[in-house]
């Protein structure tokens, strides 16, 4: 209703008189501005810029095999960045995501080896353990109402300690035993860590999984009730609850989704390297969160996309490998990442302020 507000400034057109009656207050913003207002478009441009930059300064990036390596690197971050992004849109964090990957891999590896079982048994048990960790995180956050930052910081420390201590207890070593000669290993490797040939270039299967998961996540987020609920519980939990959104279910299941991602990457690590180093994974959680934020997910929840983190993860993979291909000192990697993160956040902020101004 036009009565509800004073006329907006600078009307772009007279009130429409056609069958589509409008309130005549909003001028349609130019297409370019509307596109830019979408955070995933901003990160797409950023990723394209980084790609072009390294294509210019590091000629070896232009080879297909280099690109396959970059995509592989991106996919291992990207597969985890997806559920982390969904969780972030849902208004929560998971700091335990990095070490949970290792927990999952350790579980599968040690269980199969110690009990001399088909590795698939270990894989299934690891999935259950990962989902249980996710459930625990979610349940604690929902029940206590404490910030997920605190709860998952606790889980992070617990898992870090348990990973190391249990591995040493069981194997007498900080790494698990090689399981590559066990039943079902080859089969599982095909699913989680194989490669296939595309025009003479070996592409890792995780790249395919990454894109499949990304497409699935996008569909769920934008086209299903559950996706609607994710935005709602992150945007305004109390409103969501008041209109009948199952807030508890949504939050816990999002944490379990992160558990699923941790399981998947854990299995990938296990079946590509045959053994697991129990002290790894620390710090990875921040990489996932950074990829989600660069991908335009709102740190406070309620906004974001699944495709943005795909580009965010690609930027990570690109920079990570690009520095190597360019022949620079890889010590600079983290510094480069930090600059990129800040840059992405600032550009996002600026773009949103400009493009959404009415």
């Amino acid at each position: 209703m036009s009565m509800a507000q004073q006329a907006g400034p600078a009307l772009g057109r007279p009130p429409a008189a056609g069958p589509e009656q409008t309130d005549g207050r909003t001028a349609r913003r130019p297409l370019a501005l509307r596109l830019l207002a979408r955070p995933e478009v901003g990160v797409f441009l950023g990723a394209a810029a980084v790609l072009v930059f390294f294509l210019v300064v590091a000629p070896s990036v232009r080879q297909g095999s280099s690109m396959a390596t970059i995509l592989y690197q991106s996919s291992t971050i990207g597969i985890m960045a997806l559920p982390v992004a969904l969780l972030m849109i849902g208004g929560e964090f998971d700091l335990s995501a990095g070490v949970a990957v290792i927990t999952s891999a350790l579980t599968a590896s040690m269980l199969s080896y110690q009990l001399t079982m088909n590795v698939w048994t270990g894989v299934i048990v690891a999935l259950v353990v990962s989902l249980a960790i996710g459930f625990f995180n979610g349940w604690m956050v929902v029940r206590t109402g404490l910030p997920s930052f605190l709860i998952t910081l606790g889980t992070f420390l617990i898992l870090q300690g348990v990973n190391l201590a249990v591995t040493k207890l069981v194997t007498g070593n900080v790494a698990t035993d090689d399981i590559s000669d066990m039943d079902g290993f080859d089969q599982a490797r095909k699913v989680f860590a194989s490669s296939f040939d595309v025009g003479g270039v070996q592409v890792k299967i995780t790249v395919v999984w990454w894109l499949v998961f990304a497409a699935l996540a996008t569909w769920v987020l934008l086209r299903t009730r559950y996706g609607n609920w994710i935005f709602a519980v992150g945007g305004n939990k109390e409103s969501a609850r008041a209109v009948g959104v199952p807030v508890t279910f949504t939050k816990i299941s999002l944490f379990m989704l992160v558990g699923f991602g941790a399981w998947f990457i854990g299995m990938h690590n296990l079946f590509s390297f045959n053994t697991v180093q129990s002290g790894e994974g620390v710090g990875q959680e921040l990489i996932y969160i950074a990829a989600a934020v660069i991908g335009g997910c709102l740190l406070t929840g309620g906004a974001g996309s699944a495709i943005g983190p795909v580009f965010g993860a690609f930027m990570f993979g690109m920079v990570n490998q690009g520095i190597v291909y360019a022949g620079w000192n890889p010590d600079w990697f983290k510094a480069f990442l930090g600059v990129m993160l800040l840059g992405a956040v600032l550009i996002n902020l600026w773009v949103q302020r400009t493009a959404t101004r009415r």
Partner: protein
């Protein structure tokens, strides 16, 4: 403002009682431990009528609506819906009986588009389970139709609802409640944070909801707003009914006096008259406050 022809096609899934009595409180009250927040309150809500609940801060308005909306349970008296005593344990139960509450702040998720907000929690879907998806076209169409029916015309249902004005957000929430089969609409101070014009818009939608046959409980501390749309007025003071009167029995002045603590002011008039510079002629005499004081006679029109 458009298309008034198809009034009330979706609401009224259950017919109201013969006299249109939807919700009734009989001597209802609520104690929190040793604190009696509400005591001996009678309230009736009829279909197609607006019942205004007025009162100052701390008068018990919130407690009253929390009982009706299912957030709290009454500890004394009776609460009847369609003539049947009830005791709700959650807002969902109240919702299932057609009692919807529009909270001042809790109405919407600001970053989500208008149409997603409209259907949030009750989304339309199509397709079998693994590929069951939102029926976006149908939801947008329905949301647009319902909003227009309530007289709300928006350019772009994709815009985040946070970009709407406070009044418009309230109106979307009201339209949503009406569409989802609310028979009783509880509005918790919908005009409290709004400007003059926006309050007018919200009042218009309250009237629109009433004309569609809903019973409306309008909580406010603004007697002017209440008198514009109200059919029955209940003034709460310190947890009890100070006044319960139909529109015919009370004037705006009397209502305002009751709200402004008129009865107490009248009692003070004698004292105030002693003070130089205080004009007591404007203050009501105690016998001027003739409106029936609670408990009101039964069977108000």
């Amino acid at each position: 403002m458009t298309d008034d022809k198809t009034h009330g096609t979706v609401v009224q899934d259950a017919p109201p009682a013969d006299d249109g009595l939807l919700v009734e409180l009989r001597k209802a009250g609520k104690s929190y431990g040793n604190i009696r927040a509400l005591h001996g309150v009678d309230l009736t809500v009829h279909a197609g009528e607006v019942t205004c609940v007025l009162g100052d801060n701390g008068a018990g308005k919130s407690t009253l609506i929390k009982i009706v909306s299912g957030l709290h349970q009454h500890t004394e008296g009776e609460f009847l819906v369609d003539g049947v005593p009830v005791r709700f344990s959650s807002p969902r139960e109240a919702l299932d009986r057609g009692i919807a509450t529009v909270y001042q702040d809790l109405a919407t998720v600001p970053l989500m588009p208008v149409w997603r907000n409209f259907f949030l929690g009750s989304e339309m879907t199509r397709g079998p389970w693994p590929v069951r998806r939102l029926d976006i076209a149908a939801m947008k169409k329905t949301a647009d139709e319902e909003l227009r029916r309530m007289g709300i015309v928006l350019d772009d249902l994709e815009q985040p609802i946070g970009t709407l004005s406070g009044g418009q957000r309230q109106c979307v929430a009201i339209a949503r409640a009406v569409y989802f089969g609310a028979r009783v609409l509880i509005l918790d101070e919908p005009t409290a944070a709004l400007g003059v014009k926006q309050s007018g818009v919200v009042l218009k939608y309250i009237a629109a909801a009433r004309d569609r046959g809903l019973g409306v409980i309008f909580i406010t501390h603004n007697p002017h707003h209440a008198y514009m749309v109200g059919d029955h007025f209940s003034v709460l003071r310190l947890g009890t009914l100070e006044l319960s009167a139909s529109r015919a029995e009370v004037s705006l002045e009397e209502l305002t006096n009751h709200m402004a603590g008129g009865a107490e002011l009248a009692a003070l008039k004698h004292e105030l008259a002693q003070v130089r510079g205080v004009d007591t002629d404007e203050l009501p005499e105690e016998e001027d406050l003739t409106a029936p004081v609670a408990p009101s006679p039964e069977g108000t029109p």
